[in-house]
Amino acid sequence: MSLNFAEMTASALAEAYAAGATQKDVLDSVRAAAQTKDAAIRAYVKLEGAQPKHRKAEKKSPLWGVPVAVKDNICVEGQEATCGSKILQNYVAPYNATVVEKLLDAGAVIYGRTNMDEFAFGSSCETSFYGPTKNPRDLTRVPGGSSGGSAASVAAHAAVLSLGSDTGGSIRQPASFCGIVGLKPTYGRVSRYGLIAFASSLDQIGPFTKDVRDSALLLQVIAGHDPKDSTSAEVPVPDYASFLGKDVKGMRIGIPKEYVASGLGADVKKAMDDAVKTLEALGATVSEISLPHTKYAVNVYYIVAPSEASSNLSRFDGVRFGFREAAADALVPMYERSRGTGFGAEAKRRIILGTYSLSSGYYDAYYLRAMKVRTLIKRDFDEAFAKVDAILTPTAPSAAFKFGEKSKNPLEMYLSDIFTISANLAGVPAISVPGGLSAAEGLPIGLQFMTKPFDEGNLFRVAHAFEQATDWHKKLGNVK
């Protein structure tokens, strides 16, 4: 067969399987696409050595035989898991992350590891030890981050589906930059076991897909309580596909005034205005709401996330695995030199930030205070969801920026997550869907929907209705 399976969605692939396609055909096609495209975009790490991994499973799940690429911070037994860092070079995971187990049980094929900002610290995929991934829409621009490789591989049709992780926008912002669908599930919806932690109270694994339906299919497989993750919730997983195709008549959608008041760029503003018209035309009611404390979200995030990260990254000490500076001849120099050489600049910056926030004498003023504001942000969302069923915001302040444009100024880079961070702090689910193109360069603009915790069903419902009414995903379908 000469079909390019890599260009398909998972649901289309399921139909192809039903029509007689073989797993070998599919894998060969996806492997060829990945290898061809990756020369230019570098979405994968160490692709040449990648081996597909699958196990025998009944053809019950729509993901049977569907290749899924995983971010380099998700553990797959027998494969390197390096978080895009020198310090984890040659570290081979001895076990599968729970999401990987679930995918293998469903008959999906794990193929390829995708590039990322080192330890997921970044919004541009520029801090990876392997070098940057390029945006398939414009190779001079970043794919977003930190899950840049996961977004670029799917957008470039070098992968059918991929998994990323989202701590402050690391799935949604690259999805927006690359013109695809990216979902951050409710905190606790998907097991974090086997996800190499950045900030434990914020991290969630989630899908990158070409459309909303695939997002629902992939979440269906990976969601659910995991006894190995105490923070995963014992909340039943509904049938997400049943929410697709439902209309949004009477659905109440809120737009936080704080998100639009600050003066959106013309492209983003237009996408928002168009979306309001589309949703109203579909029968939804759109109103202004307030999330008053979200203006502190970036500040809170850059205390909480680095604090947890500084502790989570302590285990990378050169003692048991990963990179060790061979020349060191005593314990403390071994620590200092292994970590000093093993971590990149942004990782070190965040470790120092977090160490400072947690140190005695500063803890109350920084970490504790940030946690209090975090509670207020969460309350903002609780109050908002008493009035509306979903919240609509831009995903990012702009379309994809150029390489080097923000990497010299960390603060400016941090602000590129201004619209996404609150969902992590509040634990609510959020999805980015294509919502327009920039006027000058024709670059994708993403829009973000959020719902109350564990209401991914209605999130898919509104995102799917919007997607079907706009077809941006189809317009973005063809990449040069």
């Binding site: 911070n73 998700i74 553990c75 898991a81 978080c83 984890l88 570290y91 995971a93 001895p94 076990y95 992350a97 974090r192 076991y193 086997g194 996800l195 190499i196 932690a197 900030a199 434990s200 109270s201 006894p227 190995k228 993750d229 105490s230 923070t231 604090s307 947890e308 500084s310 502790s311 990254l313 302590s314 285990r315 990378f316 000490d317 003692v319 048991r320 695995f321 314990l331 620590y335 160490t355 947690l358 140190s359 005695s360 803890y363 970490y367």
Partner: protein, 480 residues
């Protein structure tokens, strides 16, 4: 110069669970290095802790047994520091909300009973162990112990002497063992103790400079180190020197303490709430249940032994310091009808002597209450001398579990109580010791013991000494 010492103890006890605190690995002492380990206790990237509920139950049991107030919210924190035996670079512990606050351990002092108040009891995981003697050029790490559940019990500075510290440890151990919370075997590292020691001129003065003494590997070492530290501090102040807040290490061989680190070098542990574990609420019912399920505690048991069995305080204390010993005693008395005072003498005398010599616990030998009662019965019935029973028969019974009577006969230790045989030996001795016989007759009563001794000698130790004396006196009286 005589100063008043103030001492507080920090005791770590290993909780009596089959598996580790956050994973399913076995807790076992003495196995091959790194054989009881898994990705979780190795702190591999991506793993998450899951609390072993048994740990929490044992912690709660200890809190209520010690009269402490259980915390309504059970929460864990991270204590961050680097050491090669600490795989994650942080220890999961409890910081601001320990599972228990307050409580006390009662001890006997020269001036009567005293309550040593407890500050707190918290749960935490143990670290691994460094092996320095396996290689000339490097240290090796054994992580079998990493993740072993511990309770840290911190006393108030209520102890006034090394003897009181010793008594506190003894009673604390008895309580924890009696409720099955910990074996408290110091040789297996199941109980570890650090001592905080300071001295001051009078009780009206504020506490003196506190010195923490570590590396105390036995109760004896605790006592010796505290005595030494009091002397050292007293001497230093006497010479007009200033003391520094510091941590010192006890050297058992040199019987001295040495500076380990000063206050300035103290760690900043950057405690913060463990985001991987979800805090949970302790219900009043659970606390009530824990209180109700407590067995009789050593102090109550001791008081009961005094009143029920008319034992001395001393004997009752010895018998109740270990639950297994107390149970053994009660069974010997209750089921096998050995008279209480006699049972106490047998157990605290020959049985303890044997256990001490062989370094065994009472349930580590073949001795049963039934066998002890039978051994004692043979002596009481005059069939064997106490001496022979203690030295020759009991040790063999304890080693083999064989019938004491059989051993007695086999070794020819059966006492001769037969009047004819005794009278024969008595006649010979009286005839051969005319001088002594006359001394007796002239009123020197003690001379009879010499004659008894001579009869015993003649009998090869087999004569029943009580019977010999009885018949000897009869004979001498008759011939007077």
């Amino acid at each position: 110069m005589s100063l008043i010492p103030t001492i507080g103890l920090e005791v770590h006890v290993q909780l009596n669970t089959k598996t580790k605190i956050f994973c399913a690995c076995a807790v076992r002492f003495g196995d091959q290095p790194n054989s009881n380990v898994c990705p979780v206790c190795l702190g591999l990237p991506g793993v998450l802790p899951v609390l072993n509920r048994e740990v929490f139950k044992l912690g709660l049991r200890a809190v209520v047994a010690l009269g402490g107030e259980p915390s309504e919210r059970v929460k864990f924190d991270r204590k961050n520091y680097y050491y090669p035996d600490l795989p994650k670079g942080y220890q999961i512990s409890q910081f601001d909300q320990p599972i228990g606050r307050g409580g006390f351990v009662e001890i006997e002092t020269k001036t009567g009973p005293k309550r040593v108040r407890l500050n707190r009891l918290h749960l935490e995981e143990d670290a691994g162990k460094l092996l320095h003697d396996q290689s000339p050029t490097s240290s090796l790490v054994d992580l079998n112990r990493a993740g072993t559940p511990l309770a840290e019990i911190v006393s108030e500075p209520d102890l006034d002497s090394a003897d009181e510290a010793y008594a506190y440890l003894t009673n604390l151990k008895a309580i924890l063992r009696s409720i099955g919370v910990s074996e408290c075997d110091m040789e297996k590292g199941q109980l570890r103790c650090d001592a905080n020691v300071s001295v001051r001129k009078s009780k009206s003065e504020p506490l003196g400079t506190k010195v923490e003494v570590k590396n105390l590997n036995s109760f004896k070492a605790v006592k010796a180190a505290i005595e030494h530290e009091i002397e050292r501090q007293t001497a230093a102040l006497g010479k007009g020197e200033k003391l520094f807040q510091e941590t010192r290490l006890w050297d058992d061989g040199k019987e001295k303490t040495f500076t380990m680190r000063s206050k300035e070098e103290a760690h900043d542990y950057r405690y913060f709430p463990e985001p991987d574990l979800v805090p949970f609420t302790l219900t009043k019912e659970a606390i009530e249940e824990a209180r109700k399920s407590l067995p009789e505690l050593p102090k109550a048991k001791k008081e009961r032994f005094v009143s029920q069995f008319q034992l001395s305080d001393y004997d009752a204390a010895l018998l109740t310091s270990q639950k297994e010993v107390a149970d053994f005693f009660e069974k010997t008395v209750g089921e096998f009808k050995l008279e209480p005072k006699s049972a106490a003498n047998w157990i605290t005398g020959p049985v303890f002597a044997y256990l001490g010599e062989k370094n065994l616990a009472i349930d580590g030998t073949a001795l049963s209450p039934k066998l002890l009662a039978r051994t004692a019965g043979l002596v009481q019935a005059g069939k064997m001398s106490f001496q022979a029973a203690k030295e020759k028969v009991l040790p063999l019974v304890m080693e083999t579990g064989r019938c004491p009577e059989e051993i007695m006969n086999e070794k020819g230790l059966a006492q001769v109580s037969d009047d004819g045989a005794l009278d024969g030996w008595i006649a010979e001795v009286v005839a051969a010791n005319e001088k002594v016989v006359n001394e007796f007759k002239s009123g020197k009563d003690g001379a009879v013991m010499f004659l008894v001794g001579q009869v015993m000698k003649k009998s090869g130790g087999k004569a029943n000494p009580g019977k010999v004396q009885e018949r000897l006196r009869q004979r001498l009286a008759a011939s007077a």
